[in-house]
Structure formats: C-alpha cells, structure tokens
Amino acid sequence: MTPALAFDLLLIAALLWSAARALTIADVFHAVVLFIVFGLLMALAWARLSAPDIALAEAAIGAGLTGALLLDAIGHLRAKRREPEQ
C-alpha cells in the first residue's frame, strides 16, 4: 500500500466516522462540532481530488459559515431552554 492510498483510506474512514457520529451523538452541540470537523476533512478530500477551489470554498463556507450558523442556532436553543426556569 502506497502512502498516498493509506492517507486516502484514513481520510475516508475519518469522514465516515465524523458524519455518522455527528448524526448519532447524544448532545447537539457535540454534533455540530463533529460536523465542523467533517467539513474540514471534506476540504482535505477536495484538495486530494485536485480541486483547490472547492477546498477553499468548503473550508470557508461549508465548515466556517455553516458552522457559525449552526453554533448560533444552538446558542438560541440554549437561551430558549433557560427561559422558563428564570
């Protein structure tokens, strides 16, 4: 097995693991963090597919901005949860 193939297989395993965990882990905050990790791994995958444009866009938009939107929504969710207790 060449180092390149080993890297590809490792990356794919990490992609599948982070995707599956993001959808099954109990806490939604952890799920979003895993999803951001997934987005960064996708950026790596695009670089491996000789697609630097997509890698840039995926890191900035797919992981960055989507991540920010999701984290903000979680902030909203938690603020809402605390409300009735006050």
Partner: protein
C-alpha cells in the same frame, strides 16, 4: 482503481448515512446536518466519478462550487425556519414527530 473513484465510493456511503439521518432523526438541527452530509456525498460522487480516469475535470468542480452555495442558502433558510418554530412551539422538531408526553431534550 483510481483515488477519485475511491472518494466517489465514500460519497455513496456519505449519501446513505445522510439519508438515514434525515429520515430517522427527529431533531431539526440534526436533520439539517444530515442534509448537508447527504449533499457532500452527492458532490463527492459528482467530482469523483467525473475524474475517475485520473484527469482533473473543472466542469464538475465548478458544479460543486455552485452546489455548495446552494447548500448554504438552503441551510440558512432551514435554520431560520427551525428557530422560528422553536420560538412558536418551544420545540426543535416537527410536531407530528413528537409524542406529546416526551420531555424536551437537546
């Protein structure tokens, strides 16, 4: 087998994982994550299969760039709807998916 085809196969698995998540997870945020994973799978298949002969193909790459922008647009709209639903119902799930007595979880 080319590396590109390998990523296309990974894309197939991601599409299936995302599909299962979209259909099975009741929490709206998780459905949104699942939709994004599903989309990433389709994008990997588009570029991976398009480059299965080993040559970089700018056409599917440009399509995926378009697709990523469409995906964030859809995600933002979905999150805005989910928040609005949370404000209106106190829940981040679609009403019929929710047994009435079930306690809130996140």
């Amino acid at each position: 087998m080319s590396a590109a085809l390998l990523y296309a196969l990974a894309g197939a698995a991601l599409f299936a994982i995302g599909l299962a998540g979209l259909l099975l997870q009741p929490h709206l945020l998780r459905k949104i994550l699942a939709f994004n994973i599903l989309g990433s799978g389709a994008f990997l298949i588009l570029v991976g299969l398009g480059q299965r002969d080993g040559t970089a193909d700018p056409v599917p790459q440009a399509m995926v760039l378009t697709g990523i922008v469409v995906a964030i647009a859809a995600t933002a709209l979905a999150l805005a709807l989910a928040r609005q639903l949370l404000d209106l119902t106190g829940q981040m799930r679609l009403p019929e998916d929710r047994p009435d007595a079930e306690p809130v979880d996140d």
